[in-house]
């Protein structure tokens, strides 16, 4: 984020906290993709993800006075979205009870259809426990470093690293069995 963009966002946060609806609308527009995608990838349900994303922004509206900077705003949104997703998943038992072994094998090779490979990856990630799943989403959707993920999820750095290691190893194993001819 360059200085001018940061200053503009800073100004928007300040004006939103003072009740400027237009400034808040701009903040929502700027961050809705991040919040909605996190929820959508985690919950695998667009309508539930939209509902959760709306609640995150409602909560932001009520807590604008505590936001100190644009970086803090992004961190706050990621943290609140992550925790709400995990809570929602635990409450509604959304995580599929099927085991990794039960995930359907693709009928076509990756070279034939990249979309199919992406869907396969999402389905395998979906079988991970809640925190491990969120670690993968923050790592690959938000491109966060393990230290940043540890801060967002309030967990030790080594736990984040071991989640990532285990998840990648499992994904590699699953996909190499499925797409044996492709080097991952």
């Amino acid at each position: 984020m360059d200085n001018a963009t940061g200053a503009r966002l800073d100004d928007r946060i300040e004006r939103s906290a003072l009740g400027d609806q237009l400034a808040f609308e701009q903040i929502v527009t700027q961050h809705q993709g991040m919040v909605f995608s996190m929820a959508c990838h985690f919950l695998r349900d667009r309508s539930l993800a939209e509902e959760l994303a709306q609640e995150v922004f409602l909560s932001l509206h009520q807590n604008l006075h505590s936001i100190k900077s644009p970086e803090h705003l992004t961190f706050w949104l990621r943290k609140v979205t992550s925790h709400r997703c995990i809570d929602q998943s635990r409450r509604q038992k959304l995580r599929p009870t099927v085991s990794l072994e039960d995930v359907a094998e693709p009928a076509a090779s990756a070279s034939e259809n990249d979309l199919f490979l992406s869907e396969m990856l999402r389905r395998v990630v979906d079988t991970l426990p809640e925190k491990a799943r969120m670690v993968v989403i923050l790592r690959y959707q938000e491109d966060l470093e393990p230290t940043e993920i540890a801060r967002v999820l309030d967990m030790p750095l080594n736990t984040v690293k071991s989640h990532l290691r285990r998840s990648l190893s499992m994904l590699r194993d699953k996909l190499s069995r499925t797409l044996g001819e492709v080097t991952l």
Partner: protein, 177 residues
């Protein structure tokens, strides 16, 4: 960076919510009731400048009234003293000895009348003695009570005018239409 990383980035790239997402968020915010401020927020609001002025005025007025009431109460205590003298708020040891207690009144009265005086008569006699003492010192006490009353009225009028000035100042500071 492995191909798996690239594939994961591709699989988990950001998605956009429906086009009316922002409008729906704003609509929900508009529907929400105003959040009730917490106890701390309400306490913090008290020390904001315009309200702080009212708090200071209130405290000053309360202090003036309390001082006036205390002064009045001290004088009133002197009036009801049993000895009939105008005593201090805290009596000296000699004054304490001179105070006639109800039991002593019984002892004094009983020998002069052979028949036993009922207890209610003894109490009635004590009331008469106190009333007589008050009547004796009435002019002096009355003047002191008047002085105390004047002081209290002055304190109240000062508090009232201060409050009026402050209210006027706050109204002048307020937003102009």
């Amino acid at each position: 960076m492995s191909r798996l990383d690239d594939e994961l980035r591709n699989a988990f790239k950001r998605q956009q919510p429906p086009a009316d997402f922002t409008a729906r968020v704003l609509e929900r915010i508009a529907r929400q009731p105003e959040p009730r401020p917490s106890l701390w927020q309400r306490l913090a609001a008290l020390v904001e400048p315009p309200k702080m002025r009212w708090v200071a005025i209130g405290v000053t007025a309360a202090l003036l009234i309390a001082i006036g009431a205390a002064q009045y109460s001290r004088l009133a205590n002197r009036v009801v003293d049993d000895t009939g003298k105008l005593s201090q708020a805290v009596p000296t040891p000699e004054e304490k000895k001179a105070v006639v207690k109800p039991a002593e009144i019984d002892v004094v009265i009983t020998p002069s009348s052979p028949a036993a005086i009922p207890k209610k008569h003894t109490l009635s006699l004590k009331r008469h003695q106190l009333a007589a003492a008050r009547v004796e010192k009435a002019p002096e006490m009355k003047s002191e009570a008047e002085a105390a009353k004047d002081k209290l009225m002055l304190a109240l009028s000062i508090a009232s005018s201060t409050l009026n000035d402050a209210q006027k100042a706050v109204h002048d500071d307020g937003p102009k239409p």
